[in-house]
């Protein structure tokens, strides 16, 4: 099977390395090897790293034509590589580029693609990979297969899988496939600018304090920030809060936002839709504060406080300060 690895910024991107976790489970059940395909320019120096995370084989497609990313160029080259290598399964990280690229590749290969998988299993009888994903506003889990077409293809939601444990002593075979036919770009990159977004990546934080529609205003988020600060955590929000313009999309938690796994998640003024809950399934402890005793979030929280966040949050901050002054 093959894992397509993005190598932008001179490193193998973490979202691609995460794929080696489900890949190892699948490869072991099907008794096949994991090949990681590194695409880009000057990527040969990155060839050892995939082995540290469990790759059995690395294929390099290293060409100046791949220095700038263009969907049809990367897509066309990946198609050629897949035709050469004939993998049973091709996994692509569900980053924005990955989700732009994968459907084109699947279509040209004449095969099926499952988007945004959050889980995998193997049907031992047929050898089909079960591709598991949450459609319909994350209220369902669908198990999808591609019984008659190969390669089976899936994009994988970022940050659902952890990196596999790293073993720097692992080695493997590196194969150069840079001779693969690379198409001419059908579009032209005029310019590219890094955006100084929020430095904070909410998906890396141990404590996340999140505000929803119940916060009521951007000013209200000041209190959310105050609580986050007391716990040394970061601020996030539900889709409704982001849609209201109270914080940026990069801080959105939920099915159309980010999937996070903090140790502590505090939801303030969030009703608890299935879409939101999907983003915090892996949180260790969930706390909810909501003025509505009937809010669904209470059924999905470990500790819930019924009350207006405007009186509850200052009380919590007060308690945290007292506890700290005692130690």
């Amino acid at each position: 099977m093959m894992v397509f690895a993005e190598c932008f910024g001179g490193i193998v991107n973490e979202e691609s390395l995460q794929l080696l976790t489900p890949a190892r489970m699948i490869a072991d059940k099907l008794h096949i090897e994991i090949t990681v395909a590194l695409f880009g320019h000057k990527v040969s120096q990155l060839g050892r790293e995939p082995f540290f995370y469990g790759a059995d084989r690395v294929v390099l497609v290293d060409d100046p034509k791949l220095a700038a990313y263009c969907p049809n160029v990367y897509g066309g080259a990946l198609v050629q590589l897949a035709k050469l290598e004939k993998p049973e399964l091709l996994l692509i990280g569900g980053t924005l580029r990955g989700r732009e690229l994968a459907p084109y590749v699947a279509n040209v290969l004449g095969t099926g693609l499952t988007a945004d998988c959050t889980g995998f299993d193997v049907d031992e009888a047929s050898g089909d990979v079960l591709q598991i994903r949450p459609p319909f506003g994350a209220t369902m889990l669908a198990y999808i297969r591609t019984p008659k077409h190969r390669p089976q293809m899936a994009t994988v939601r970022p940050n659902v899988f952890q990196l596999p444990p790293m073993d720097e002593s692992r080695r493997g075979k590196i194969v150069d496939r840079s001779g693969v036919e690379i198409p001419q770009p059908s579009i032209a990159l005029v310019s590219s600018e890094d955006v100084k977004k929020d430095q904070v990546a909410i998906e890396k934080a141990q404590v996340v304090v999140s505000g929803g529609k119940g916060i009521g205003s951007r000013e209200g988020f000041g209190m959310v920030e105050g609580l986050a600060s007391e716990f040394g955590g970061v601020v996030a929000g539900s889709r409704k809060a982001v849609d209201a313009g109270w914080l940026g999309h990069e801080r959105q938690v939920g099915q159309t936002g980010k999937t996070i796994k903090p140790t502590l998640y505090i939801a303030l003024g969030i009703s608890g839709s299935a879409q939101h809950l999907f983003g915090i399934r892996e949180a260790r402890v969930v706390v909810a504060v909501n003025a509505d005793p009937g809010a669904p979030i209470f059924e999905s929280a470990d500790y819930g406080i019924v009350g207006d966040y405007r009186s509850i949050v200052p009380a919590i901050i007060d308690q945290v300060k007292r506890a700290r002054s005692k130690t």
Binding site: P71, G137, R145, D194, P314, A315, D318
Partner: protein
């Protein structure tokens, strides 16, 4: 591995210049003067209001209203802005059940000139591979086209597949996550697009496919004057497989390489569900919480 036969041009690994792309000088002038813009949209259940039955834990699907996919409204808005700037016409196309007609009427109300509803029982239960095939064949009937716009993803299946797949079937240049677009002299399209940590500017030749970024603009309201025009001119056509004459082994379940093996309600994560009413005494609630968080080892 099944090989696909089809009348659409097959790719050979390097791009052939397909007939659509060879533009005469006259065609370029026409594009600049009066671009033909098509937006693909979908009619979807409004998953943002779906509820889970508290007793059975299953979805309550009855009475869930359907709407035009909200992220497709950003695509429609992008198309309407192109029309405002450059003239031409905007056609909205939906491959959906017959009820989608009211959705297309809504889009005419926004200012779309024409609606095409592609609907037939043989198209039902198509995965994205089969859906994109039907859409590509339907779009061919509207050629020559300058810009085709799709929304980033739907709120029901949320795959993000269709734009790239249709681009593959029609062998057209494409780009995703477009926040702004304009048509330049010479008939090229310049777009701004956003990735996770960067903004890119690309230029594409026409015809091309743009996938708009969700939430990248504020879709305009429906106007009475547009609605009245719709009532008079009846600008919505319905195309069935009588019109498209597609091989039914390439649509619906038969034309779908992916199969849903099973679907279950999302299993809920076991939570403690402990609760404290803090309405009378917020301090007591806060203390209760801190004590528990300390016990959990997270505070």
């Amino acid at each position: 591995m099944r090989h696909l036969q089809g009348s659409l041009p097959r790719r050979s690994g390097h791009l052939e210049v397909s007939p659509q792309r060879q533009r005469s000088a006259v065609q370029v002038l026409i594009c600049m003067a009066s671009p033909n813009i098509v937006v693909g949209v979908k009619w979807v259940p409004n998953t943002t209001v779906v509820n889970v039955d508290p007793v059975t834990g299953t979805l309550i699907r009855e009475g869930v209203p359907s709407i035009i996919n909200p992220h497709d409204l950003n695509a429609v808005e992008l198309a309407l802005r192109l029309k405002e700037k450059h003239g031409g016409t905007v056609t909205a196309m939906a491959m959906s059940p017959p009820a989608a007609k009211s959705g297309l009427e809504f889009l005419i109300g926004m200012g779309v000139d024409r609606g095409v509803l592609v609907t037939d029982r043989v198209f039902a239960a198509s995965d994205t591979f089969a859906t994109s095939f039907v859409l590509a064949k339907a779009l061919e009937k509207l050629f020559p086209v300058d810009v085709i716009v799709f929304g980033q993803e739907t709120i029901d299946s949320s795959t993000s597949h269709i734009g790239a797949q249709v681009a593959s079937w029609l062998d057209l240049p494409y780009i995703y996550y477009v926040t702004e677009a304009e048509i330049l002299e010479g008939g090229r399209v310049r777009v701004k697009r956003s990735l996770e940590r960067q903004t890119d500017v690309y230029e594409l030749p026409t015809p091309c496919i743009l996938v708009s970024m969700m939430k990248s603009n504020t879709p305009r309201r429906v106007r009475m004057s547009n609605k009245l025009r719709a009532k008079l001119e009846k600008p919505i056509e319905v195309w069935t497989n009588e019109t498209l004459k597609l091989d039914s082994t390439r649509t619906g379940l038969k034309g779908s390489p992916t199969v849903v093996s099973k679907s279950i309600p999302t299993p809920s994560v076991p939570r403690k569900k402990q609760r404290f009413d803090g309405r009378q005494d917020p301090s007591a609630a806060a203390k209760w919480l801190l004590d528990n968080l300390v016990k959990e080892g997270v505070a």
